[in-house]
């Protein structure tokens, strides 16, 4: 399938916050309670449309466990977007956000768009982090914010798509040199060439690597 752009996303956050469930909800539109915990990384992909342009999201779902961090850090490279997820029913997953952010800032490119997601908002009765706290943290660190539920699918589409919209806008504004793939963006058919130009999008090959 051809796309105008391909964006690389990573999903990060503590173990058990629901990263894999969010991905599955987004790609397969279902809540799968019996999937396995993530070791290393898993992949998902989906096409979306922004501004009438087909955009392919290639999503890296990383393992959340602390001791895997030295490995998972290597996955940040070249991501255009990140979903930073915590679990609103577990305070410690919120407390760890700063250290996740630090990792992201250190190992991802500076222009990466980060979306903060307070997941499991279907479990409001067990809430341990208020919506305001989430908003506040996002504001302080310049992140987009949303509460979501992988179980009910609330805000899941929105989270992935508004991240993409933000990235798309940055491209329009010329923030990225899209011909430089370290920004996690590949130009396919119909995408605009980057400022350095010189590339028509005819080399589009879903999943192929053309450089």
């Amino acid at each position: 399938m051809s796309y105008a752009y391909l964006f690389k996303y990573i999903i990060i956050g503590d173990t058990g916050v629901g990263k894999s469930c969010l991905l599955l909800q987004f790609t397969d539109k279902r809540f799968q309670p019996v999937h396995d915990l993530t070791i290393g990384v898993e992949f998902g992909a989906r096409m979306i449309t922004i501004d009438n342009k087909p955009i392919k999201l290639q999503i890296w779902d990383t393992a959340g466990q602390e001791s895997f961090r030295s490995i998972t850090r290597s996955y940040y490279r070249g991501a255009a977007g990140a979903l930073l997820v915590y679990d609103i029913t577990r305070r410690e997953t919120f407390n760890h956000l700063a250290s996740w952010l630090e990792d992201a800032r250190q190992h991802a490119n500076a222009n990466m768009t980060i979306m903060l997601i307070g997941n499991k908002c279907d479990l409001a009765h067990r809430r341990a982090v208020s919506t305001e706290e989430g908003e506040q943290f996002a504001k302080e660190h310049g992140l987009i914010f949303m509460e979501a539920s992988a179980k009910t699918a609330q805000n899941v589409e929105e989270a992935f798509i508004s991240t993409a919209a933000t990235i798309y806008k940055k491209i329009q504004d010329g923030v990225f040199d899209v011909s430089n793939e370290s920004y996690g963006i590949k130009v396919g058919y119909g995408g605009i060439p980057g400022p350095s130009g010189g590339r028509d999008g005819s080399a589009s090959q879903a999943g192929g690597c053309c450089s």
Binding site: K8, T15, G16, V34, H35, D36, L37, I39, G40, V41, E42, F43, A63, Q65, E66, S67, F68, S70, I71, S74, Y75, R77, G78, C209
Partner: protein, 693 residues
Amino acid sequence: MQEPELHDLSDDSDYAASQLQQQQELKSMSRTDSGKKGGDNEPDGAEIVFVKDNVTIHPTQFASERISGRLRLIKHGALLFMTWIPYKEKTDCTAQSSSSNTKLSERDRNLYTIRAVPVTDIRSIRRHTPTFGWQYLIIVLSSGLAFPPLYFYNGGVREFLATLKQHVFLVRSADDANVFLVNDFQDPLQRSLSSLELPRAVSISNSSSTPTLASSAAQNDNSERTDDGSSSISQYGGRHGQKVHDPARDLSIQVLEKFSLVTKFARETTTHLLREIQNDGFLANDTKKQSQPLTNDNHETGLDDAQTVPNEISVTPDPLENTLCRKENHFKEAATRVGTFELVDSKEFDKLTLVWGQPRQPPLGSEEWATFLDAEGRILDSKSLRKRIFYGGLEHQIRNEVWKFLLGYHEYDSTYAEREYLASVKKADYETLKSQWQSISPAQARRFTKFRERKGLIEKDVVRTDRSASFYDGDDNPNVTLLRNILLTYSFYNFDLGYCQGMSDLLSPILFVMKDESESFWCFVSLMERLGPNFNRDQNGMHSQLFALSKLVELLDSPLHNYFRQNDCLNYFFCFRWVLIQFKREFDYEKMMRLWEVLWTHYLSEHFHLYVCVAILKKHRAKIMGEQMDFDTLLKFINELSGHIDLDVTLRDAEALCVCAGENGAACIPPGTPASLPIETELLYPLQDENDV
């Protein structure tokens, strides 16, 4: 050139036998010549130009197991043939020779017999002059196969080479004085050798001389120039000069030597099949009819020595062996092309296999298992058992019993009674450990953050472990509770290591097989004795594994290694999951259990899982390099191999790689790399130890 005589041959049965044999053979030789089919061969065109006795091979890694025989060069018309015929076993007079040949059957002898190989089929000869021990030669055929090293117990290497040189075009490699190239310079020698990662081991002149006697002047010219070491004629000369002491090159040469073992595997395959056919009654005992040169050349020479060694069972050239050779060559060419040129058709290479490993056997069943046990339940020959499981795995119904031995929970030499007693003691031990966390009251837990965290983590993970398997599916499945109990108990048994993700993946199949809580726990403990360091918080265990893996790939596939280096993939993180949970998620449940029991035998190496990694990577090398995969693409590609890996093929490839790498492979793996066991460190390659100085 020294020919150390460390071995007094006068008391050697082989030697005694050889004296007899020699006379017999000389007689039968003439008989053969006149009595043979006749007609198409000149009956008296054969002339023996070289004879050497007590030329010996060591078919196993044990120096004590050897087969001695006579090496000859026979001129027949314009053609020169090499033969090596093992002496007939003198069962009645082996008494004084303690260990020699005791384990080698008549069949083994036949397997290795070299019958009239035209010297034109020989590609190169490598001479080895160890400081201690006998000189030996490794003869590599054009097909890429190599004979096992021929040890010259009575000396004679120099004469052998000198004789050869009188008859064929023999040139010393400009790069390595111990490599002698035979024959046609235009053949794909350099290509194939470079595929053994021997880019500089053999350098050949650009000369288009043919190996006919007519052009001997030119040949002499060449060999002289290469002999003086100036290398001036070689187009590669400049580079060679600087690389003489390149350790990587030495390694590569040793890899070449290991390839001589490959022949053995190919042959064992043939025998295996042959045996099957015989069992089916196809081959009766009409062996003479079947006798043909093993090398399957088409030269009907009349020099077939089958009749000079009566009673031997001849090895029928098996079409499969040709296939083996052919595939092997394909593989080499593929490797070379990848290294040197653009890939032409990567799809075709994907299908190719390193088929040198032995064919997989059917799994060990309960009847056969019983034969490994004595009346009291001891396993007398644990090595054969482990070997058997290495090649075939286990039928599911005996896993429950045998895994306990493989994992080291049960001692091989324990009796039924001892094991029964142990089980009851261990059960009590388990209950004690379990009660430690069970006795923590909710109030106490509130003040015990570490415990709460661990418990929470484990409870989150057991419901995310193999829930699609019926054994663990559904709500409130009691087996999920068992997983939790065992993991929590383990985190008290080994508080420092505690719980780490991946452990539940390792425990799940064990519980599935053992069913019993306490026994599963202790088997898991044994497994963690080996794999525990992989779960260290600082990941040092995993890093040392991945480091060892990179060294192995460097040894066994340097172009691929270079590719990874150039593409920033040297951290091998894409193999992280493979190694951490031992391919648990790469195969279906049954296949995964099969692989695990094979790994646990520690038969060829306790790090066999790393060779499995290399085998899979090598299998896809053409695609990886051909498509110029970067780190991201590679990671995704490797992830998506899950469920698409052929286990049997992979195991055979890994076996071949492990054998090829030999102790150089072992040297790639830093001591203490997980899966290493403190117990039973046996020397797998004492032969090489002695000679590869």
